[in-house]
């Protein structure tokens, strides 16, 4: 007989409890995502704002590099945070397996946790980075200078949220799959 997964609500409840009970830990993870994405969104925003400005073209090349660097920073920071949060929970993963959880249930829990944290912190980060750049621009050059942004703000915000969420999920789910696949005895032995 094969074990079937319980309704998704069971995994969702576990994910939410896990976030709530590990508030401090999860806050640190979320903050890492938020900072990375805020940096990315701010670089993208200032790039968009300076696009129509011929004097800034040279600076724009530098800024494109910064976009790349900011993404790299996001990736490293988020991966590190998520990797830690999975590793800390090997024993819990082993226990879940003893209770009859399938590998896919375990991965689902980590997926949902990462999805919730990823969406919330990337959204906050995107608006923070975008907002700061816009505010600085309005303060220095007046509100009219924002016209350069045109319809560019939506893609910036969406891409920041999308990238942040995607990295967070990937960074959590790859180690979670690996942990779920290892023999339960090995997972149970890990003491952190």
């Amino acid at each position: 007989m094969k074990q079937k997964d319980p309704p998704i609500s069971v995994a969702l409840k576990q994910a939410m409890k896990s976030i709530r009970m590990r508030m401090l830990r999860q806050f640190a993870t979320a903050f890492g995502v938020l900072l990375g994405i805020a940096f990315y969104a701010s670089v993208r925003t200032s790039l968009a704002l300076s696009e129509s400005d011929p004097e800034a073209v040279e600076g724009a090349v530098k800024l494109r590099w910064l976009v790349f660097l900011s993404l790299l920073m996001c990736l490293v920071g988020i991966t590190n945070a998520m990797l830690m949060s999975v590793t800390e929970r090997y024993k819990e993963i082993g226990t879940f397996k003893c209770l009859g959880a399938t590998n896919s249930f375990i991965v689902k829990v980590f997926f949902l946790e990462a999805l919730l944290i990823g969406v919330l912190s990337s959204t906050a980060g995107a608006f923070l980075g975008f907002g700061i750049m816009v505010a600085v621009r309005v303060f220095t050059d007046g509100a009219s200078s924002l016209s350069a942004l045109g319809s560019g703000s939506l893609p910036i915000l969406l891409s920041a949220i999308g990238i942040g969420t995607l990295i967070t999920i990937l960074a959590a789910i790859l180690p979670a799959i690996q942990a779920a696949r290892m023999p339960a005895a090995a997972a149970l032995r890990v003491e952190v």
Binding site: P6, Q14, K17, T95, G100, A101, P183, A184
Partner: protein
């Protein structure tokens, strides 16, 4: 032939030549060196042995938590090495209940939630699970502690939750690895009595690794493990004969 088959079906756990070897760099550790053990349905078996003798390793093999390097483990005459991961999950969920020295409760969930998780995995609705979980926690004396999290419970209480959780899907076997190892004398005694009661009243087969001499009193059989091998098996009848010497068993035999 008929008779022997009928007898066989009463063997709920069978291990045949189970070996487990760990490699730590260049060093090779023979945790189990060929263990063959039969456990009857409804038996209470204690596995005794000094630290490092292979009790936990055997526990892992029998519980389908790890695979033997060589040899086979049969649960209800099914070779568990042949099971796919979802089939193993099914076995862990319905056939076996696990109890650990360190309790291993899910820290972020309440006592009741810990007990109901295996039921939700088995497909029960949340209401059915809550109802049964409440009855189970009540039966281990924790009817008042349903919504406490593990950190808000004493060791003995946590172990009771773990026992209630192990019973969630009416398993045929309870596997316990030093269930009293982290408890004081009195609490340990209570846990042992609880296990004995389950064994007698519900017919659950209990296999428990232990250092605890109090376990001897309640076991049908005691399997002495030493250095990865079965050194000796003693039945309750044999034990009763030498009851006067029971004190000595713990020290002398190893």
């Amino acid at each position: 032939m008929e008779a022997s088959r009928a007898l066989e079906s009463e063997l709920i756990v069978r291990t045949r030549g189970v070996k487990k070897t760990y490699h730590l760099g260049d060093e090779v550790v023979h945790a189990l060196r060929g263990v063959s053990l039969d456990v009857q349905r409804g038996e209470y078996v204690s596995i005794m042995g000094p630290s490092g003798s292979g009790k936990s390793t055997l526990f892992n093999m029998v519980g389908g938590l790890d695979k033997p390097t060589e040899g086979s483990v049969y649960i209800n005459e099914v070779d568990i090495a042949q099971l796919s991961p979802p089939e193993l999950a099914y076995l862990r969920n319905r056939t076996i209940g696990y109890i650990f020295q360190t309790f291993n409760l899910i820290q972020v969930r309440t006592a009741l939630e810990n007990v109901t998780l295996p039921m939700l995995f088995a497909g029960l609705s949340a209401d059915e699970a809550d109802e049964k979980g409440f009855l189970l926690l009540e039966s281990v004396g924790l009817g008042e502690r349903l919504h406490h999290r593990p950190t808000e419970l004493s060791g003995g209480q946590q172990q009771r939750v773990a026992i209630a959780r192990a019973l969630a899907n009416d398993p045929a076997i309870i596997l316990a690895d030093e269930p009293t190892g982290n408890l004081d004398l009195k609490t340990g005694k209570e846990i042992i009595d609880l296990l004995r009661k389950l064994n007698e009243e519900m017919g659950v087969t209990i296999i428990s690794a232990t250092h605890d001499l109090k376990m001897l009193d309640v076991s049908d059989r005691i399997v002495y493990v030493r250095d990865g091998e079965i050194a000796k098996i003693e039945t309750r009848a044999e034990l009763d004969l030498q009851i006067g010497e029971v004190e000595g068993i713990g020290e002398e035999k190893w």
